[in-house]
Amino acid sequence: MESPSSPLILALWAALAALAAGLGPVLLGTPPAPRPRHLGFASALAAGAMLGVGYALMSLGLARSGGAATLGAMLGVAVTYASHVWLGVGAAPRAVRIRHAVGAGALHAAPEGIAMGAAMAADPRFGLFLIATLAVHNVWESEVLGTQILAGGVTRGHAALLGVVSNVPQVVFAVAAFAVAVRAPMSLTVLLGFAFGALTYLCLAELLPDSYRSVGRTSIAVVVSVAAGVVALLGGRLQ
């Protein structure tokens, strides 16, 4: 029987979280008409979950080593910003738009995978909670991503598949981060900080602006802060 925090079990849990991303395009309704308010709230819930997860990760990292956690957080912001700039945003042709949407999904998935691996290495119970939270977050996020992909003219099944594919980096980075943290325990704090910095940056650069564009700022602020509070509370109690 594999330990609950073995790389294989972690890969299976992370793969389930990635599969959850296939649900987004399916849940968009028939036909998938643009519903800005619904998508705005989906982005806000995803942002709140991300901030709550980030808080739980960073408070764990700070408790281990303030310097290493903040160094990791700065690296997380810097690397994600550089990837963001390199990936670019928005383009008219269909293929480019789909590629960018999938690329943006993959960019989100990488730090989420690092968060899963680091959390599992720190505490299996916390790791499982974080994977479950990010699986739900993936459904909300993939609704937004699915709208962009479906606008490119692909079928719903194809959109669901692209949603799952864009989250494959989650599995790869989860296992890699876990392996690094287990072999070099000193790196765990840096990884926790890295995940916090990257998730916070992505939330501020993409999810929150998207939400504000679709729904009023007060509604978004309520949804984000309450969702983040619930996730932080549950995450904090499970550490």
Binding site: Y81, I220, A221, V224, R237
Partner: protein
């Protein structure tokens, strides 16, 4: 000095909160050299303020959770409710002819709204300074510093609205200070509340954090996104947040 502090903690809290209020007046300084601040400059100032407030809230939540996770969570939601209620209250103006100082109409309404918003927010910030003293000197210094630095862009925002209406720098400095006067007034009762009713500390810490996070989400970030690239806002806010965490750790 330390003996005076330990024997007069309430005066100490009042003094620190007064200093944060005075910092608001520093927001007029750029206007001594320039007539206006660019919209992008204001957006970056708001992004920095957002990072500071989020970092300060992080410290309050960590401290509150040490006492009780659920109490901190309830306090956070009370803080959010407080700001939502005050925003609803302020948002229901009659839209009629308004005069304020030398200005009339939309300009006067904008001035009143900005000052009113900042003044109401100041109660929550003052409460944050007050309750943070219940969590120890290190936390208190970090929160005081964060609120003081955060106040400077608030003064900048008030001056940016008042200066084009022909108000003098002195008048802008006074109204900036006025908007933060609730800070020392709210800090002392908040401190006394948590000092004498220790069980209230996590609720108070959560309340202050919730109110500040909500202000960031409802005011500072949307204002920053309106005038700057979301990537720039994200980099500035997250970097400032991390710097604030480092500061709280090693202060």
């Amino acid at each position: 000095m330390m003996a005076w502090v330990s024997t007069h903690p309430t005066a100490y809290v009042f003094l620190f909160a007064l200093l944060t209020a005075l910092a608001t007046s520093l927001g007029v300084l750029p206007f001594a050299f320039i007539r206006t601040v660019s919209a992008r400059g204001m957006a970056i100032a708001n992004a920095i303020a957002a990072g500071l407030m989020l970092g300060a809230s992080f410290g309050l939540l960590v401290e509150g959770t040490h006492h009780s996770g659920w109490a901190t969570f309830l306090g956070t939601n009370l803080g959010i409710l407080f700001i939502v209620a005050t925003q609803r209250l302020l948002g229901h103006g009659d839209g009629g002819e308004t005069a304020f100082l030398g200005a009339r109409g939309a300009g006067a309404r904008r001035m009143i709204f900005v000052i009113a918003i900042m003044t109401v927010h100041s109660f929550a910030e003052g409460a944050a300074v007050g309750v943070s003293f219940g969590g120890g000197t290190t936390l208190a210094l970090a929160i005081t510093l964060a609120v003081a630095v955060h106040n400077i862009p608030e003064g900048l925002a008030i001056t940016a609205v008042m200066r084009p209406q022909g108000e003098s720098l002195l008048s802008c400095a006074w109204w900036s200070l006025f908007s933060s006067l609730p800070q020392p007034l709210a800090a002392v009762p908040a401190f006394l509340f948590v000092a004498y009713l220790h069980a209230a500390l996590p609720y108070g810490l959560g309340f202050a954090a919730g109110a500040m996070i909500f202000m960031v989400l409802v005011e500072l970030l949307p204002a920053a996104y309106e005038e700057a690239w979301s990537r720039s806002v994200a980099v500035v806010t997250s970097t400032t947040l991390i710097a604030m965490l480092l500061l709280q750790r090693y202060l």
